[in-house]
């Protein structure tokens, strides 16, 4: 079974607010997929629906090819960490994991020490959860996900609250889990540079709708180049571009910079067009985008 997660026309509405609009999504066995969206885009809600914490308003979820009660059982093969992981504050890491070990029917007690070792908390196992730092709590959350030896991890903001060293450690850990244990990972984070280092596939979500779904190669290709212009009259520039190139994809940024995503090959022609029509071009650059810039170009920069 190659398909781990599949949703068909999935929606979730809270009262009048349709947080997830009909959403089709498929996650196949293998890589690391990043779900990217602004706050309120519907990422956490989508994860919660996948985790069974929220019921979908309509549509279907198939986990490992199973729906309904089968999907409930299939969650035993998955590890979810959504928002801040919850544990008993007065329990130590070992006690907390023991509680979940019993609950999940993991036979071998030594698995607790294995997962603590994997996330680097083996030396802190006797410390109470309430005394843990945010980063340690996140790592314990990942340890919990790994407890049942899952085939698939769904992690919402797993590097939230971690320092630079912690972020690097979690990145290394996730890559290791993916490459060595063949665990498929669906992850979200607001630190897009990290996702760029981690993921092989990027799914962009805006207002509950998937607006783009690209592979790393395709993203690299798509985000390779764009024209950036600094002009004295952005409005006139926009008018000229629209009149000359019917399907031109351009944006006027708040600092009056004009960016053009297509017609890269016609950059000289565009430059001449503007100059010939009396637009003062103060800066003309062909830039490549990183994930963050690509994301902002896609979903807007009003976050």
């Amino acid at each position: 079974m190659n398909t781990m997660i599949q949703t068909y026309q999935l929606t979730k509405t809270f009262k009048e607010d349709e947080v997830i609009k009909p959403l089709d999504f498929t996650l196949r066995k293998g890589g690391i997929c990043a779900l990217i969206g602004k706050n309120g885009a519907g990422k956490s809600t989508f994860f919660k629906v996948l985790a069974g914490q929220l019921f979908p308003t309509s549509g279907h979820i198939h986990l490992f090819g199973k729906s309904g009660e089968g999907a409930v059982q299939a969650r035993k093969r998955m590890g979810f960490m959504i928002e801040t992981p919850e544990f008993f504050p007065d329990f130590t890491a070992t006690q907390n994991l023991e509680y979940f070990r019993i609950q999940r029917g993991v036979v071998e007690k030594k698995r607790i020490y294995e997962v603590l070792q994997i996330v680097g908390l083996a030396n802190q196992k006797r410390k109470r959860f309430k005394d843990y730092s945010m980063g340690m709590k996140q790592r314990l959350g990942i340890a919990l996900c790994l407890l049942g030896s899952p085939d698939c991890l769904v992690l919402d903001e797993p590097i939230n609250g971690l320092d630079a060293e912690g972020i690097r450690e979690v990145r290394t850990l996730l890559l290791k889990l993916n490459q060595e244990k063949q665990i498929t990972i669906l992850v979200s984070s607001h630190i897009l540079t990290e996702l760029q280092l981690l993921a092989k596939r990027f799914v962009f979500i805006k207002n509950g709708v998937i607006v783009d779904d690209v592979s790393k190669e395709s993203l690299d290709d798509k985000s390779r180049k764009q024209i950036q212009l600094k002009v004295d009259d952005p409005a006139k520039t926009a008018r000229l571009l629209e009149q000359t190139y019917e399907d031109i994809d351009y944006k006027v940024l708040p600092d009056d910079t004009v960016t053009i995503q297509n017609y890269i090959e016609a950059s000289g022609e565009i430059n001449r067009l503007l100059i010939d029509n009396g637009v003062l071009v103060m800066e003309f650059r062909i830039e490549s985008l990183n994930l963050e810039e690509y994301f902002l170009g896609l979903v807007g920069d009003d976050r």
């Binding site: 985790a51 929220l54 919850e86 544990f87 008993f88 023991e98 509680y99 979940f100």
Partner: protein
């Protein structure tokens, strides 16, 4: 379900507040017995140093017992509820969570009730003037109370699982188990055929039970069990059905 129950038992056994509440309850029973005993020793005309009066403190204090039931139920349905989102994510069904938490907290509560009853009988029979059949009457009265107390426990559990706040739960308990009889009597007095319905109200039955115990006319009452079972079934059906459809966020 067994795995979930085992994990909850692991949690329950390490819940200090629960054990402290248990100890406090047993200490209060002992303290009440001591106060009555020493009052009887120092004042020869003191009329309450009897086992019947001592036992009546339990028979007449259902509200207090239900508050203790609430505290016991909170052991697994209080702050710990924030962890159930993880359990659900790991494929534990909502039904399993609802019933497991109920079975465990109820078992603990019943064990403490039995210990409390034995302690009371031990203290009552050894410290006070023993009255004829007082233990038997006490046990019958307690048995009559049992379904009503259990229905209160089920009501607490259902409401806690549906995230009703403790304040509203206490208000509901007071309404149903303390004043429901008076309310029904007043409201239904003019309605022919329903004017006797208040006899089935839990508060009326609990008062009757106490009066009969004190008057030594106590006997097993099926109507108490009917009331208790009806309330229990309603609470559990509504609680389990609504919890099974509830978003856990």
């Amino acid at each position: 379900m067994m795995n979930y129950m085992k994990s909850e038992r692991y949690r329950l056994m390490r819940k200090k507040s629960l054990h402290i509440t248990t100890v406090i309850c047993l200490v209060l029973i002992t303290a009440a017995a001591a106060v009555l005993y020493f009052s009887g020793q120092y004042e020869s005309s003191f009329p309450y140093a009897t086992s019947s009066f001592f036992y009546s403190n339990v028979i007449g204090n259902t509200a207090l017992i239900l508050i203790v039931a609430l505290l016991f139920n909170l052991a697994l349905t209080g702050k710990d509820m924030s962890l159930i989102k993880q359990s659900v994510s790991f494929g534990i069904s909502r039904n399993t969570i609802f019933w497991s938490k109920l079975i465990l907290t109820l078992s603990y509560f019943l064990v403490v009730c039995v210990i409390g009853l034995l302690l009371m009988i031990g203290l009552g029979e050894n410290l006070f003037t023993s009255e004829e059949h007082s233990v038997r009457y006490f046990l019958i009265a307690s048995f009559n109370m049992l379904p009503i107390v259990l229905s209160g426990f089920f009501m607490i559990h259902a409401m806690k699982m549906l995230k009703v706040s403790e304040v509203y739960i206490v208000i509901m308990l007071l309404f149903i188990f303390v004043i429901s009889g008076d309310v029904l009597r007043t409201l239904l007095k003019p309605v022919s055929g329903l004017d006797e319905l208040y006899h089935y109200a839990p508060s009326t039955q609990l008062t009757e039970n106490l009066m009969k115990f004190m008057g030594q006319t106590i006997h097993f009452e099926i109507s108490y069990w009917i009331t208790g079972i009806v309330i229990s079934v309603i609470c559990l059906l509504i609680g389990a059905r609504r919890f099974a459809k509830q978003n856990i966020d």
